[in-house]
Each structure stands twice: as structure tokens, then as C-alpha cells.
Amino acid sequence: MAEDAPVLELKGITKRFPGVVANDRVDFDLRRGEVHALLGENGAGKSTLMNVLYGLYRPDEGEILVKGKPITMSSPSDAIGVGVGMVHQHFMLIPVMTVAENIVLGVEPTREKLFLDQDAAEERVKQIARTFKFAIDPHARIENISVGQQQRVEILKALFRGADILILDEPTAVLTPQEALELFGILRTLTREGMSVIFISHKLHEVLEIADRVTVLRRGKKIETLPREGATQEALAKLMVGREVLLRVDKKPSEPGEPLLEVEDLQVLDERGLPAVRGVSFQVRAGEIVGIAGVDGNGQTELIDAITGLTKPQSGTIRVGGRDATRETARERLDEGIGHIPEDRQRRGLILDFTLAENVGLHDYRKEPYSRVGWLRPGRLIALARRLLKEFDVRGGNPKTLASALSGGNQQKVVIAREVERDPRVLVAGQPTRGLDVGAIEFVHRRLVDERDEGRAVLLMSLELEEIMSLSDRILVIFGGEIVGEYGPDVTEEELGVAMTGGRREAAA
């Protein structure tokens, strides 16, 4: 690693928003050819700092030095001008245009200053892709390429504009594990060519895999900058959260009882009417967590929707506590023993414009004591909410706060509180920690294990292998809408990975 003067220095950056100090005298530096990870929980000030660097926010105090020269960034074009490029979490690409068109957008090569020079554009894109060893087809339309490839287009866009400092904002959040590995390969090539990368993340294992140095932010302050060598997940988590965090869930071996959820030969179609779940059968018994592992889009969502009554299966049966629930509506199933922590809490789990009291009543508002003959009794809902907020340690709101005002982790706590409060026999959790930070993940995991120990049957669907492996008592691998393997908790990541990508290998649990 080059040890010369930093290509970028942020000194004493302070950014205040009314009522909040988002960055409090943060120092940060980036050396040539390194990947420097910026680690912190949601709301720790990572994005604010990068937006300051990218010219989207003006800092209240502090200075920015690029290659030793103080710079005033007042817009992204200033940042691009000094070689700073940013790849946002949500891509800014035009779906109907080609890769080349998107890359040259705004700086198009022209013929007679009027017409787009298509050939020159493609030639230049090919050239730059070759330089950095990117495999990409400049003619392909954005809408037809994968998310991972779209991300590469974003990176190329920045490089095309002459960036030698790249900011990647949570780049792996949208990627499959395989695509993330490819991204890391690309980043290594880039740094070898002399680029410098700021890698924003809250995932510890990724940071340890790709970063040369790590800077941890917590509640707006820089806590520490440390080299990767010698850093451990536990140490980083402690710096991030400010206290000891249990990354590995400690739990007793399960003592499964009678089967509470039985799925038999289930066939489900997806939204386009194509088979998504093809003849799936399994059981979840009282007091065990069954994890469903798989690459996104292999029928997990449709399976959960069918179990919770949100889609009608083509055929097959679903039994809850021995009772045939196949023909019951979503509400009947919720009322008779299924708790559902939905995959997308903001779209399904909560009504963001409702207060927390209204949200905790989402299933039971029609029942005594929360209403009587059609009249709501808001006082009862508020009392329920107050109790649950306390019991589940929800911070940042009272029963009358709108759900949208809470952080993601606290929103998820509200969802879990509501589902668990109804004392379900079967708890179905879809990606329960998606987008949450370490502290909140710990809480959710602990709670799922507690619910298991209460004697509930827990069905856990997650795209995070680590999560599946640390929580599940049994693991089912779903591929192409079929269960292709069942494993015990001591299976290796490699074994699961092979099964998840279609390398069928049956193993005894």
C-alpha cells in the first residue's frame, strides 16, 4: 500500500441539522490505492459525511483537502471536477437507454456540436472498460441487465468523468452474495490501478474482507480509524454500537414438540402466472426454528405469501396446529395462530402514516377491547402501544408518533411486538433483519430465539446465510421453487452455497 500523502483529507467536519449534530468534528483521510471503509450504524452520520464530500451539503465547520489543496465543494460538479465520484445506493440510470448512452450522458461526444456521436461514445466506453477489466456490453439496455451489472455501469460512469476517488454508498445492499464477490474483485483491480475507494457499509464481514483501513463513526463522531490487520468483527461491532455485542446467537439446543405448521405438496404461481413454488412439503414443530435458505427469487416470497394467506396456492395443503388452513383468508389465519413478520416492513408491515398506536392495532382493531360495535377506543390502543413500546424497548417515539418517524430497527421492533403480542403458534419471519444495524439485529435474533423457547414454531426466511446458520435448528434450501436439501445447524457455508445454486446434494439432518 502506498504510504505517501493522502489523496483526500477531511478535517474537523461538522454538520448540524436543526436539533441534531450529524457530524461532529470528523477527521477522515484516504490514501492512494486503498479501500477505506466507513463503518457505522444507521444514522451514525456516514451518509452525511459523504454528502458533504460530494458537495451535496455544505459543512458548518471543517475543511476538505483533495491532493493537498483545500477545496470548497458547493455542488456535485465541483466534486466531479476534482476527481471525486459517487455511486449511490439507488442507481441513477435511465432504464431504456443503453449502457454506453448512460455512461456518456451529460458529457456526450458530439458531431458538429449537435449530434450524438454514437460510435465515439461506444468506443470510449469500451476503452475504459478494457482499462479496468470490466466485462460489460455497451449496447445492452439498462433494463435488460442485472443489478450487479447496473452497479458496474455506475462505477464506469464515475470513472468516465475522470474520478480517481470513488465513494460507494452501501454498494452490497442490492447485490446477491455472488455479485458482491464480483464487486470486490472489481474494487481490487481499481485500487491496483491507483484508484482510491471509500466503502460505506454496516456489514462487518464485508468490511473485513475488502477494506485496508476502517473508520468507525458513532452518533456523528469519529470513534477510531484502524487497519484491517488485527481487527475482528467483535471489536468493530463494539466500536460501532458502543457496547459489547453478541454476534453469535447463543441458544440452547431445540426441543421440538408436535408439528404446528405442515405444508404438503404446495404449488404456487408468481405474479406473472408462472410456477414459483413447485411441490414443497415440510413441517415446522413447536420449539424449533426452521430456516429457508436460498438465492433471492427462488420462490421464497411466494411460499411465505401462500402460508400467510396472501396468495392462493394452485394446489397442496397448509395445516396450522393440525387444522386445515388452506382455504382460510389472511385474516382468519392471523386470528387463528399465524404471526407474520413481513419481508418488507415499510410496504407491508407498517402503515407509515399511522401512529404507533394505530399500527399495533392493525390486526385487532375490530376486536374488544380495542373497539366495540364498530367504535374504536383509541385509549385502549394507546395503552397497548405504550406497554409494547416499553417491553420491546422501542426508542424515538411514543404511541402518538407516526411510524415514519422511527428508525428502521425501531420500526421492526414495533412489527415484531405486534405479531408476538397476539401469541401466535406459528411465527413466519421474512428477512427480519434486512437493513437493520448490528444492535437491532442482535435484538431481533434474541427475540426470535426467545419465541422459539416459548414453544412457537418459527419459520425464518432470509437471504443472509449467516443469519440462517446462526438461528436455525434445521435448514431447508430452496432452489427453483423446490426444497433441494435439508441440513442440521452444523452445516458449512460451502455446503449450503452449493445447494443454493442448484448443485443438488441431499444430506441427512
Binding site: 448540524r16 436543526p18 436539533g19 441534531v20 449534530v21 458548518d60 452518533r219 458502543g242 457496547r243 459489547e244 455485542v245 453478541l246 400467510t308 394467506g309 396472501l310 383468508t329 389472511a330 385474516r331 382468519e332 392471523l334 407474520h340 413481513p342 410496504r347 407491508r348 408491515g349 407498517l350 402503515i351 407509515l352 402514516d353 399511522f354 394505530e358 392495532g361 392493525l362 390486526h363 382493531y365 375490530r366 373497539s371 364498530g374 367504535w375 374504536l376 383509541p378 424497548d393 426508542r395 424515538g396 417515539g397 402518538k400 408518533t401 407516526l402 415514519s404 418517524a405 422511527l406 428508525s407 425501531n410 444492535g439 442482535e442 434474541r446
Partner: protein, 400 residues
Amino acid sequence: MTVTPPAQTPEIEDTYSLRSTFYERAGGFFVPFAATVLAFFIGGLVVLITGHNPIEAYRAIFEGAGFNWPYQWLTGQDTTASGRDLQQTLRAATPLILAALAVAFSFRCGLFNIGGQGQYWVGFIFALLVGTHFEGMPRPLHVTLCIVAGILGGAFWGGIAGFLRATVGAHEVITTIMLNWIALYVGKWLFELDGPLQGAAPSLPRSEVIDDSAILWIIWNPYLHAGILIAIVVLFIYTLLLNRTTLGYEVRAVGFNPEAARYSGIGVRKNYFLALAISGAFAGLAGTVDLVGVKHAVDQSDFDTNFVAFTAIAVALLGRNTAVGIFFAGLLFAGLSVGTSSRNLDPEIFEPALATDLATMIQALVIFFVGADLLIVYIWRLRRHLHLRRTQPAEEPAPS
């Protein structure tokens, strides 16, 4: 679990959520208010260009709407003229408020009901049928029957759009507009010369007049009928229905997030139907109150000139779909039109012909600025930002 007690201080999150909740609530009042002020300001500039004094003109419109009545009444002045003006304003506000609720209620379910005018007419015609029959019935009963008929008529017409949305997914904006035209042309056909419901006068395209027993009580001589009281009661019912009943809870849940409603087992389609039917009931009531309070009959030409339910869309928008907001927005719009009518405005100060245009313009500007609420918030922030810079060039106050 070996976790030290959480050391996190919740202050930052607390202030954030409190602030956002405050903005949510304050924004609901602030933006419409600022929109109105801006609209009047720009209207004032236009008055200035036409060579009149905007303050004088606004004052004349204000008095023409009778809004000076409370002041005169309190100070013991002669209130005859201002009282009559105010009565007209309140009378004009009544159907505006009721028809605005038709827009507001469906809006809370995520639907845009543009069919208020059609629902208004169907309610009107149903009430007319009841009002022209049952001669000699006791007045409270006859009036009540008319109102029930009008509500059912409006609910029927709104319910058609709701049914189509719920079953085949036909978009309510399209269907309610089509239903408007159907109601309008059916109405014109019913009351045309030799039409099926033409009244007794053979040469007039006009309906029968409703019986005396179906006419609403006058609560303030000579103009003001009890409709405004009905509107106020209905405003309360609207708020209670939305916020304090399970039906309203479902309607709002579907309006805010249909996917979350579906997840919890709430019948999204059922609520689409109910919301549009109930919406129609509000508009039907607006028509009924106009019939039994003011018109007592209908001319065929009324179908071409009465567009009160369209103005009511603007009232709902300005009132942000809240009962209080709709009440004041209704008064504002009614006051603007009454205050600029040639009968009430002194032509020395501002020509009524111009004033009517001014009223329309101000109404349009209000809607423009309410729609552009982000613009208003931006202007407000900019102002505060400049202010801060001027007074505290070095340091902003630290957050407490």
C-alpha cells in the same frame, strides 16, 4: 444475555420524531394558510395593474361577503345589510362544504372522486321525487325523507364507480367523470319540454316545485336555511367516522398503504366500494340541501350552469381533507363569490365584472399554491435562512 445496559441516549431520536410530527401537523395548517395569503397578494398586484386600490377592493369584497357582520354586531351598529350578505355566504358555503367532504372522504381511501357533480344531481333528483310527493306530511318527516332519499341517490351514483373499481378495477377518475355526464344528460332529459318529469307549466323546461312541507326551515331571516347546521353536524360525523370507527380505520389504512391493509386482512376492494358510496352520500346530501333549502325545483338550464361540486374539489384540497379546514375553505370560497357578486360589491371601488374574475383567479392561485406546497416550504426556509445569516453570521445556536 450478556449485554451491558444500553448506553444510548434517546434525546436525538426523540427530538427528531417530535419535530417531524410537529411539521406534519403544522404543515397541515401552515401551507394552506400561506397559499391563501400568497394568492391574495398576487391578486392584489393584478388589482393594482387595473388601476384600483387593492386594499379598498379586498375590503369591499370582505364586506360584500358579510364578514364584517360580527364586528358590527358587537359594536351595536346597523347589521341589516351585512347580515344579509353573511347569510348568502353561509348559504353558498353549505353545498361547497358537503360536496368537498365527498372528495375528502374518498381521498382518505386513496381515491380521487371527481364525480361529486353527478352524485350531487342524482341526490338532488331523488330528493325532488320525494319532495314532490307525500303532500301534507309533517314537515320534520318529509324533510328527513328527502334527505334520506338524496343521500341514497348520491351513494348509489358513487357506489357505481366504487363497484366498478372493486370488481373490474376501472379507475374511479374515469368512471366518475363519465357518470357525471350521464347524470347531467339524464337530468336534462327528465326536465325538458315534454320530458318525463317536467312540471305543470307547459312551456317551461322545469320540474314540479316541492311541497311546502318538504322545505327546510329558515333559521335566520330572510335567506339562511338550516342547511349550514346540517353541514356542521356532517363535518363532525365525517371526523368521527374517519377517526373513531373501525370503518374509518380501514378506509385510512387502505388509503395510506393498501399493501399493508391487505397483509392484515382488510378487504381493500370492499373499502374502495364503501368509500366511494359514502363519498357519493355526502355529495347527494349537498344536492338535497340545495333543493330543500334554496331551489325547491330545478330548471333544465341549471344542469349547464351549476358546477358547485367542482369548486368543492378545490375546497377539499385547500382544507387538506380535514373537517376544520374544509369548513374555513368553504367559507372562503363562498365569501369570494358572494362578495364579488354585482349585488354586493360597490361598483365605485371595483367593477363587479372584474371582481368575479378576480375571485376566480384567487381561487385558482390558492389551488396552485396548495399544490405547490413544496414551493411554499422552500420560500419559507429561504426566508428564515437569509434571516439567520443576517443576524448570526458566524454561528448558529447549538441545538438544545
